[in-house]
Symmetry: C2
Subunit: 406 residues, 2 copies
């Protein structure tokens, strides 16, 4: 038996597991039955919007991931990662993973934060020689308009006395900002490098919908801290606006990732919605060029009624188009009749609730169990096929077994 | 691909489907995926006690079944069947199917019944040349002590005037019985033929636990009818006792199938519990001499805690011993951990509740659906194996498909 070629392309189980986590569960379920030598697994988690864009992207594109320390929003060393796809030519920076809201836990002052760590990741990306950097602008705990990032890259933020403003203790220092000097930023930036800022919502830097009025700030900071941050970011927006020749504070995108968007505008980044980026980076059509034995997709609810844009359904249709059997693992099959599911092109399906009546595990364990059940069935099919080769041996074996046991 | 060899050996789903019905459902589930040319199915429904002994027996032994009319308990022609197993040498008579309680529906007088139809089946069996007759003594609507059966076979029941008593209108006529004359019964009876009466409970003909106090009689007949029947059966027991030299009315077995047991005693039948008969006639060990690709068993509740005598578990153990993968289809897997089920030797399982969340069907449809899901998984395994032969063709095909669809 050659290696089975299995494509794993699930969506997330809403509110419970992201698609890359589901893909990992499916992989484990397969491995319980087919070890590495008997099955090759390619994980291609689906992205259907939401916060796991970069995680899904890395898994989908078999990213090489490098781990090292950068500075946290509160400027102490913290583990982070930089990923490379497309043979190393594209770096992926995950803002939420590096400086996300997890840092707000037990924080002394949510306005005393810096995006310096993102600048450090960009430096590492530049020095690795990539030509494109995708920055997934998820939630950030660094509410400094990207000031820290710019400084890490060599930009100078100068006050009225011509002195560099130290922003690593928080954005309020920017109230004294007079000049942003980009002359000394990393030489490859804005020339050889394309920075793509991928966002969920194009929020703004200033005003009552601005960064200073972030929920995390409002629930943790004093009124004075909020006001100080708000004023400082307005000052930053004014000075940045002189360079960019727009009203940055109200410019859609300037507020994404705690205002990192503003810093990225100064770096000449291109802005792109996650949805649009996903269409380019999650290329399922190409994925089916390989001759998969079968594909396993997963979703919380599978139904023939669910919108045509639903990704697992898209995978099933693509599989059908390419003659590849598609197995669906779902928490719920929202149908009355199984036949409706098969009509959709599904080859077979396994529900997470179809296991033992008193399950102990959480969703992730239930997914692994469901996949294991499915794979054990597939294994029966494989062994049924293989018996073909030596039907006699089996008879002899069972006769021997009988003799020994009788 | 040669034909798959599939053994189907389920138990019943208590209170819902008998084992032979479950086997039929499993067969249909398989056929939805594997037509006759691609799969040979052998149905061997399990017998675990209860009323489906003969049905399971016939299915298990691939019986030849002959349909014809006999007389109903109320002596009108009604469809019945006689089955032959062991190459025709053994006939099987199913009392419940021929003259069972179904005839009590809308009956005018439950004491006016006859077992004549069973005699007709025995005549047919004798004339077909069998050497053994298994009579499955299930519930009967003919409460005549077997008088009608005896008369159909040529026995004479004679009153004080030397006249034959007509019992086809009901047993109360037996109050006038003086002599039972067996001289003219079918010549092959009591010589060449072994009659085996298979019973569930060894009830008695007379007394307060006797046939006249059957629930069906008590709820439908008048007090006088009950008393008349009771007295007549006592008379019948007295006369029969003179031949058999036992107190027939209190002899365990004399009351089985509405007293058919008494008539069978007069025919020299051997009495045997269904459990003991099942051990002989349901020979699972021999069944596994064939090289099955896999076995499908079914049960309402499968659990590693269930008693060792549990038949589906026995099938799984036998399958394991013979190296045959075992698939369990169950309404409930009463476990917390799937691993416990696999430890039992189960290869994989499919639950009836594991299908669509809003199922429309009854248990039988849910079983078919569950088996279909399982078989579609097995099919994926088979097709994965077969790709091995021509991996290139598949690549070409998908390229062509792509071209056409792009």
């Amino acid at each position: 038996m050659r290696q089975l070629q299995i494509l794993v392309a699930p969506s997330g189980f809403n509110n419970s597991l992201e698609s890359d986590e589901v893909a990992d569960c499916i992989e484990e379920g397969i491995r319980r039955v087919f070890p590495e030598k008997s099955a090759f697994i390619h994980k291609a988690p689906l992205y259907e919007g939401g916060n796991n864009f970069s995680r899904a992207l890395l898994s989908f594109n078999d990213a090489k991931i490098h781990y090292f320390d950068v500075n946290s929003p509160f400027y102490y060393p913290t583990p982070a990662y930089l990923a490379f796809i497309n043979g190393g030519s594209t770096a992926v920076v995950d803002v939420a993973a590096a400086i996300g809201p997890q840092f707000f836990v037990d924080c002394p002052d949510p306005t005393a934060t810096t995006s310096y760590g993102i600048g450090e990741l960009l430096v590492a990306a530049l020095e690795a020689g990539c030509t494109k950097i995708i920055i997934d602008c998820g939630e950030s705990a660094a509410l400094d308009g990207g000031a820290g990032m710019l400084q890490a890259l060599g930009a100078r933020l100068i006050d009225a006395n011509g002195k560099d403003i130290i922003t690593i203790g928080g954005a309020p220092e920017l109230a004294r900002l007079v000049v942003i000097n980009l002359n000394n930023i990393h030489p490859r930036l804005r020339k050889e490098i394309c920075i793509e800022a991928v966002y969920g919502t194009r929020s703004v830097l200033c005003g009552h919908n601005g960064v200073a009025f972030d929920d995390h700030v409002l629930t943790r900071a004093s009124l004075k801290q909020v006001e100080d941050l708000s004023l400082a970011l307005e000052e930053f927006a004014d000075v940045a606006g002189q360079i960019l020749r727009v009203n940055v504070g109200n410019e859609p995108g300037s507020g994404i990732s705690g205002g990192l968007g503003t810093g990225l505008m100064l770096l000449g980044a291109q802005f792109r919605s996650r949805r649009s980026a996903a269409d380019e980076y999650f290329d399922f059509e190409t994925l089916f060029d390989k001759p998969w034995d079968f594909v396993i997709t997963g979703t919380r609810i599978f139904s023939s009624e669910i919108s045509k844009a639903n990704m697992p359904r898209k995978v099933v249709k693509l599989a059908q188009k390419h003659g590849v059997p598609a197995i669906v693992v779902a928490e719920t099959i929202a149908e009355e009749r199984t036949a409706d599911i098969y009509k959709e092109g599904v080859s077979s399906f396994m529900t997470t609730y179809g296991g033992p009546a008193f399950p102990q595990g959480k969703t992730n364990e239930l997914i692994k169990d469901a996949v294991q059940r499915a794979m054990r069935m597939v294994q029966i099919g494989i062994s049924s096929s293989q018996d073909q080769i030596e039907p006699q041996v089996k008879g002899i074996e069972s006769a021997i077994t009988k003799l020994e046991l009788d």
